[in-house]
Symmetry: C2
Subunit: 347 residues, 2 copies
């Protein structure tokens, strides 16, 4: 799933170059890292990428070895349920007896081997049971920005990985509940990584989101796909299917996971220098008495910091952004202001 | 005088593009502003620019209307005395009966009309008396970074401007002396702006720096100039001539003057927005809850600040610099580090 366009990584992220296409957490785009993370486990010809129509070319150039027909271009953004239904229909057309691994393209996960092991267990579980399986991320803080799954009864382990029934899905909690979840140990973050048999997700879609399943059966192509999307509701797979499905299971994981929600998240996913500065995108960082800064820039550029602490310093294209780490979310104020001013050349 | 290469405006200033060639205090290079400041008073064909041989082309392109033969290229930097002696020899060759106005090309002075009026008075004084005249800048703080002139007896005013004999030159004082100078009112900054008859400066050079005057009489050109410069001492006009000359006078000025010693000096010479941010170089500044920042960038670029105070944010070519205003002088640490690392492509 490589659709969506965010503003929280402006000026690196732009309308035609959203977060997942950027080397935010290293020297490769998050999308490329996501594909690479399954190298050896999932062949490139079995990898489908669903993205926005206006980003398809960028996806092709980031992954030139990927068959062109493996990039599915959505005519319009409709959240994750239509995206997953479209991919499921295409996978069903190619290989009805298959298990799918559904991954957001803009997450950071370390280490890859642990991830492949957990995904392998989830695949075995989904294949054997026909259940919808989600990877449940062990919370590391009382997050209010994520949905949670509540652990149900323990099921037999798979390949050394615990498996639980999901008792229920919980939408983003307030801080008090989030703290209780963290303390209680019975709630995991729902990170949007799913594993299921193609027949299982298609059956669940038909049952809970019949209009979406019908509109995208086939799947339609070209003008028919555009017509279908024009009439679709925008709805997440969590809300539309998983919260209503009878048999949802989770494989808990406790390695590094981040959805890299803003520039401020980079220190959690990148190695820091001795003074706690991190940098990404290919920029060269020269720091003198500077600590805890987050620096992004393109290859061939150099950013020099003297005597500053805890800043985000981003240079991308013609734009530079400087803000304190703790105010990194406020970059949207700049984006909104540029949009109001009709300055789309910078967006 | 447009020679010299500084490191304090890195990354905007580079070896081949020093401060005076940069639009640091507005949209035009300081050199161009310096020439424009005398528009109407000094014709372009009477304007000579002495610069380093490797900067002559950049000078030509900044001032395309200036006759090419009016750019005198020094083969090597030798401080101000040889620079002034070279220019004086060239002026003598062209117009022996002339008065010269000698200006550093990297200062900011406002307003131009007041400046032209003071210079006009200095020209009248120099022409009539044969004295060496310096503009004396009324101190606005206890500066330890400038030389001072001590006021001697008052002489008859010229065109409404006071004129004083210079009792003595004082080299950069310590803070205590600088405070006493500021309180006493008898000391002015020696800003390096001089007015004198061509015959007067040539006579003073012959008397006090005979070797320099002899080496540059003519003046020599091409290989002869290179040979002459190779043997010249590096010495300032203040130390080599003015401190020893018998008749030096000063016209005090009290309008805005700055030698723009570092990025931190820009707020003193540029109009600020409502939050006290200043920007130069052609960059567009978008500030949200940001105050007291100094921003530099090239035309077509945009710098966005959110929630930061008192920073210097410079983008020039492939480099970005961020540091607190009060540590702007420390940019030399970055330059030194790049030089040690052999990274001349960034210098």
């Amino acid at each position: 799933m490589a659709g969506g366009s965010g503003t929280r990584f402006w000026p690196a992220s732009r309308r035609l170059r959203p977060k997942q296409l950027l080397p935010i957490a290293g020297d490769e785009a998050l999308l490329v890292q996501t594909v690479r993370r399954l190298e050896g486990a999932v062949a490139l010809e079995h990898t489908l990428i669903v993205t926005g129509a206006d980003q398809a070319e960028a996806v092709h150039s980031l992954l030139p070895q990927l068959p062109r027909e493996n990039v599915l271009a959505e005519p319009a953004p409709r959240n994750t349920a239509p995206c997953i239904a479209l991919a499921a229909a295409e996978v069903a057309r190619r290989a009805a007896q298959s298990v799918q691994i559904v991954l957001p393209a803009d997450h950071v996960i370390h280490p890859p081997a642990a991830f492949r092991s957990a995904v392998g267990a989830a695949v075995a579980e989904a294949r054997a049971s026909g259940a919808l399986v989600t990877l449940g991320i062990r919370p590391t803080f009382a997050a209010t920005g994520y949905g949670y799954v509540e652990l149900g009864r323990a099921l037999p382990a798979r390949d050394g990985h615990a498996v639980h029934a999901v008792a229920r899905f919980v939408e983003k909690p307030d801080l008090e509940r989030a703290r209780a979840f963290l303390a209680g140990g019975q709630h995991l973050w729902n990170g949007g990584i799913f594993v299921w048999r193609t027949d299982a997700i298609q059956a669940a879609l038909r049952e809970h989101l019949g209009d979406v399943a019908r509109a995208l059966a086939g799947p339609p192509r070209g003008a028919a796909l555009e017509t279908a999307y024009a009439g679709l509701q925008s709805i997440s797979i969590d809300y539309g299917v998983l919260e209503r499905a009878r048999d949802v299971r989770t494989v808990p994981i406790d390695f590094t996971w981040s959805d890299v929600g803003s520039w401020a998240a980079l220190p959690g996913v990148l190695p820091a220098d001795a003074a706690g500065n991190v940098h990404a995108g290919g920029v060269e960082l020269v720091a003198e008495d500077a600590s805890g800064n987050v620096v992004y820039g393109e290859p061939g550029t150099l950013t020099a910091l003297v005597g500053v602490e805890g800043l985000v310093v981003v240079r991308a294209g013609e734009c530079v952004l400087v803000c304190p780490r703790e105010r990194a979310e406020e970059v949207k104020r700049i984006v909104e202001r540029l949009a109001r001013g009709g300055r789309s050349e910078h967006l």
